[in-house]
Symmetry: C2
Subunit: 537 residues, 2 copies
Amino acid sequence: MRRWNGWGDDQFSLELPAQGTDFLSQRIGAAEPLTDADLASVCQQVPDSHLPDHPLVATDAEIRVRHARGQSLPDWLAMRSGDFGRFPDGVACPTSPEDVRSLLAYADQHDIDVIPYGGGTSVAGHINPQAGKRPVLTLSLARMDRLLDLDPDSQIATFGAGTPGPLVESQLRAKGYTLGHFPQSFELSTIGGWVASRSSGQQSLRYGRIEQLFAGGSVETLQGTLSLPTLPASSAGPDIREMVLGSEGRLGIITEVKVRVTPLPAQESFHVVFFPSWEQARTAARSLVQNRTQLSMLRLSNATETETQLALAGHPTQIRMLESFLSFRGARDGKCMMTFGLTGTRPQCRTALKETRRICGEHEGVYTGTYLGGKWAEKRFTMPYLREALWQMGYAVDTLETATDWDNVDHLLATIENNLRGGLAELGERVHVFTHLSHFYPQGCSIYTTYVFRTDTDYAGTLARWHALKHSTSKLIVENRGTISHQHGVGKDHAPYLPIEKGALGMRAIQGLCHTFDPQQRLNPGTLLATDTDSVE
Amino acid sequence: MRRWNGWGDDQFSLELPAQGTDFLSQRIGAAEPLTDADLASVCQQVPDSHLPDHPLVATDAEIRVRHARGQSLPDWLAMRSGDFGRFPDGVACPTSPEDVRSLLAYADQHDIDVIPYGGGTSVAGHINPQAGKRPVLTLSLARMDRLLDLDPDSQIATFGAGTPGPLVESQLRAKGYTLGHFPQSFELSTIGGWVASRSSGQQSLRYGRIEQLFAGGSVETLQGTLSLPTLPASSAGPDIREMVLGSEGRLGIITEVKVRVTPLPAQESFHVVFFPSWEQARTAARSLVQNRTQLSMLRLSNATETETQLALAGHPTQIRMLESFLSFRGARDGKCMMTFGLTGTRPQCRTALKETRRICGEHEGVYTGTYLGGKWAEKRFTMPYLREALWQMGYAVDTLETATDWDNVDHLLATIENNLRGGLAELGERVHVFTHLSHFYPQGCSIYTTYVFRTDTDYAGTLARWHALKHSTSKLIVENRGTISHQHGVGKDHAPYLPIEKGALGMRAIQGLCHTFDPQQRLNPGTLLATDTDSVE
């Protein structure tokens, strides 16, 4: 069953190998875990619902607990401490667009706020009810999880918006297709959530971001149904699809999603190259993408991430052998690991492999074949489980991500890492920080930074540590030409920083758009656009 | 000098070969040309300007005549007859964003409407002043035509919005880069106009549409300056860039455009393949794009377009030899010509050529090498001059274009062609109609139809013929899952059909957006959104 207070399936857990524990305590000190609250006691805190009866609305405590929070670190601390703040007043699981329309009419009639809920995997506070007077209905799309149509000529598939990653892929694979959208949250996140939050998958180099995959569909709004016809391209004015993408529930409830699918590829493989230095690795990665080499994924770990991954991998003997080989070939301390994917026809993959090896070779990259790449592919969706293992040892882990142009990548990466690394110095605490680049464009790339710190002796102190790190770094990101999010969206956590990125007129455009569809701010208030005048001081 | 009443440079003209004339008179009858008005007499009709003085505003008759109309067929008929309708009251040619701000303040203060003018190449009535009470200022960006900055790391170039195609490419080429955006209007159209109207270039398969090339820039609005920062990608809410793309001057005046550029390719070549039938040709083209073969352009002419092009090419002996060869290889009557382009590194081009020949071979395509492809590349921007040659012979020519999903391509193409072909039957007039597909996506493609008919004995009758064809076909397009425009934009001519495509709520979103930036509808009124309730009856 799904964990009520953390990531994923509660039958599955990752163990940190002994070397990993040693590595972390050397870096930031040994830690003591905090005590977790239990589900029964949290359920007892849930207050009476303020919702009038509706046949689709459940108001029992457990369902309200299970839909109150996402997967941000503050969400995690709320679930672990049992200090949830507000719960939704009820949860509805509609099975059709008609159900959704009926629920919106009910909300409008009874002055209820509505929060759309996909997989509950937000790491930016998208689905948390905020304090306020109106009752809150959380509308889960979980039961709208079917492949509704597949057009093999136009390669368009229609899904219920609540279809989670594995059901998207399994239903398509049965017919010989793939969507190719693999965010790390793939196991739980949904196709509607991907659209609402402008998600990006690990193989975006081949398949594109969700913006390129989303072809149209249906959105139920308080003003009626917004139908988005499928068109391969159009110059007929501003694109309404692009207004729905990233709307985070503020315009309406996405009920049907039409996506561009691809026949299953003839070939797919993942390969690893090590570089002696960051400078060489980053230059090679930029050359690859600017050369338009047909790769399907590319990921480049900086030296600390490379070191951390090798330490946490277990298998110390094999890792030692690998390191001897790399050392012999010139990649020693400071080495950086690049993983790349090839997907397509045989000739496409052959040409791309040749070009990639040539370009990497020009920057002293040491090609190690497909063994480590295969391991990456095997474990690509299990990383979020590591948070549980670290938590049990007394470590909190979170990530920050952005994207910027190539001329600014090194500067912004250093700014983020330095700020996080020294961010708890006043408390005498060290922070372990490492980074990878994982989405590449000719213009620039994403920067994805992980930071690990010890929990405080209580939850409030732990949250304060997180807030200090998150706030100061987020501010630096938007002040230094980074986007507040490349792939996680805005939610409530990033909303205060959005005006710096979009500017006053850009914000007015988004506010105007939300006002057109939802003048009473009934849909997911506080998400995307902060309700109060929360400024970044 | 630029032609005041037609396309392009008046020192350049295309002659139709004798075979071409015969071909057309066999198809739709011999024709008599109408008499053209002269510039001096048109200038005499220009009324006094209602604009108050401004140092940047010129109000002489000729400049107002030269900025009154675009290149649609109604524009052409207006310019040829001298019956212009309304002229702008003045024309300003600012040289900086400050100038543009000053002109917008002047317009706001004196209750003036403002029409932004790039290359004046609209074929949908974007820049025609409409009837109304307010004086009209046409704001030409012609003097903002410089490359302002080039960042070789991020491959971003910044241009003044009025830079026309040839100056975009020559300024970039001097530094080893290309934008790769080549619409047929390339000689005259501008980078700001491409953004404002969501343009697409002939090599969009490699370089993308303008949506993919436009990275950010500046828009001067009546509410202040809208700055669009460059980011390689972002999930931070709806994308403001996408609201500016296709805004057709309704939000503000685009002054600076930042675009994603590419180093000049190592190789480029264009090749031609003939197929025995449309069915085979269309299937091969779809397979190529769905296979993600790295082509830079693809164009597929249907049988009538292939026949027309061969007839109009001149060189009857060579064409006869080509046809004998094709006939021997199985491509006879009904044959269809495909042109494809390869651009990139040598290995990329080699792999793509092999895959393309294999896929075309599977559908009985006869590969003829690069001779005809080279001819296409040579003449790629001269086709609009043919309108002049046909006009002098008494033929009017126009085009209609759309895009739709693959499952609908044949149906929509036939619907468009049949409607045009029989559209003047009541008058006893035949229409010569032919089509190509020229922008390809895994989901579908563009459909670009040319139609030629005889002018009536007067201008009013000729305009009526055009209107009958254009209106009925446009209506059929949007009623049959086509977009009202794949690459020409909405303007005033397509505005009545937009609500069918976007739906009531989609229209409200666009109206709301325009209202946020321009509550008094001072900027390019009547374009994109029809002012009156012009419905499609």
